[in-house]
């Protein structure tokens, strides 16, 4: 850590705090209001509002990891040895589990098996 020059990052920190706050406020407004144009849609088994929430969350995660956890100041090899496995494994796991969950829902809904109630 000693070799990188440590000029003060205070301004950057407050800018990132501003960005995170604005994103959170947008999320809360959308979450309370739930505009019908977004909420009643369906894209790949989820409504557009949920997609917006997830994208905004990833943007927030990017700012926290890059600015607060200072990944932007690390070497590229270090940065990607952290972010690469996370991105790959999480997308992989989530994809498999959600598809499977959806499939089980379909089986119970449409096949001869029934919920007992």
């Amino acid at each position: 850590m000693a070799h990188t020059a440590h000029e003060s990052n205070t301004k950057r920190i407050w800018v990132v705090f501003g960005i995170l706050s604005v994103i959170t406020i947008i999320e809360v407004i959308l979450g309370i209001d739930k505009p019908k144009a977004l909420y009643m849609t369906n894209l790949l088994s989820m409504n557009l509002l949920n997609w917006i929430f997830i994208i905004l969350t990833v943007v927030k995660a990017y700012y926290i990891m890059w600015a607060f956890m200072h990944l932007e100041g690390e070497k590229g090899s270090f940065r990607w040895s952290i972010v690469g496995p996370l991105v790959f494994l999480i997308i992989y796991l989530v994809f498999i589990l959600l598809v499977e969950g959806n499939y089980i829902f379909d089986v119970f809904k449409n096949s001869d098996y029934r919920w007992i109630f």
Binding site: H6, I13, L98, W115
Partner: protein, 326 residues
């Protein structure tokens, strides 16, 4: 840099120790790789939660109806505000943490200590908020009944507004008392706390109030819950087995059983991380005050616990999205 160049001049440097792969010190790198593994643990939990939600997509509770409390505003429907406040508290404590790291780079001991203290206070406020959230969740607001098949039935009036059990349950003589140690000769623990109302009281009260209807777990096309007609409601009441008030690990009044389990487990595991984060921050705070890092001429330790603290914030951002927004 020099590490990959194989000339005789740099060979000595490469193998003589003091070399930092990927330009990060040992401690920082290991903190990062711990965070990677912990992040995967949390993703496992959240993915399992997503799996269950997709599996029961038609009967999952609507978060806005569950988390709608705000301090000092009783009976006011305030979805999201409280949890948004908690998010801000945690993001702000992340900001003070990163300011402490920044001050550490400039070897400003007092500034580091002040910012660390603010971070610790933010952490405690967050923990307190979470405790309050849990208290509301466990206590419940309206109460519900459960059928033999495990379906939760809630009660609404003609306008679809929720009605609490206490507002209509008939007053019948209690046939069952909670068994406690001082009442029993031979003490056996009572399996479950006795609810305030018995099934008979709820059923009688429902029959006596023609305005009441039952709301089932299942979603309609408009993504609200299905309200049964009066006849269907009365028929459904024959299957009622339990009165459910609030939430525990077995059943909850909000809807599907897994909902409370995932809520307790994931927010609990995150809260545990916040708690350990606060403890570690306190340790480092005292080290800063004692001048440990001043003597070491490096505040890198503040940076390492900072990484952990930001990670806790990072996880909360995802928990916030998947439990309260989506």
């Amino acid at each position: 840099m020099g590490a990959t160049v194989t000339t005789t001049a740099t060979n000595g440097k490469t193998w003589d120790g003091g070399n930092e792969p990927m330009g990060a010190s040992y401690g920082k790198m290991m903190m990062w790789f711990f965070i990677v593994s912990d992040a995967l643990t949390f993703s496992g939990f959240l993915a399992a939660y997503g799996f269950s939600r997709f599996k029961f997509i038609e009967s999952w509770p609507i978060a806005d109806e569950v988390f709608n409390h705000f301090p000092f505003m009783h009976g006011v429907d305030a979805p999201m505000y409280y949890v948004a406040l908690m998010t801000f508290i945690l993001i702000f404590s992340s900001v003070t943490m990163v300011l402490a790291v920044d001050a550490g780079h400039h070897m400003k001991k007092t500034k580091v200590a002040v910012y660390m203290l603010l971070t610790i206070i933010g952490g405690f406020i967050f923990l307190g908020s979470q405790a309050w959230e849990w208290k509301n969740f466990i206590q419940g607001t309206y109460g519900a009944v459960e059928t033999k098949g495990g379906l939760i039935l809630q009660f609404v009036d003609k306008d679809g507004k929720r009605v609490a059990l206490g507002d209509f349950a008939a007053h019948l003589p209690k046939e069952r008392e909670q068994l406690t140690r001082n009442k029993g000769v031979w003490y056996m623990s009572d399996a479950h706390a006795t609810p305030n109302y018995s099934v008979e009281q709820v059923v009688e009260g429902f029959k006596a109030n023609p305005d009441l209807l039952i709301r089932s777990e299942f979603n309609t096309k408009d993504k609200t819950k299905t309200v049964l007609s009066r006849e269907e409601s009365l028929k459904k009441l024959n299957d009622v087995k339990y009165v459910v008030e609030g939430a525990n690990l077995i059943r909850n009044e909000y809807g599907h059983k897994l909902f409370a389990n995932f809520f307790f487990f994931i927010t609990g595991f995150h809260g545990f991380h916040v708690f350990t984060g606060v403890l570690i921050n306190i340790l480092i705070f005292f080290n800063v005050i004692l001048g440990t890092y001043e003597k070491r001429r490096s505040y890198e330790m503040v940076e390492k616990v900072g990484l952990y603290w930001h990670f806790v914030d990072l996880v909360w951002v995802f928990v916030f999205t998947f439990f309260y927004l989506v």
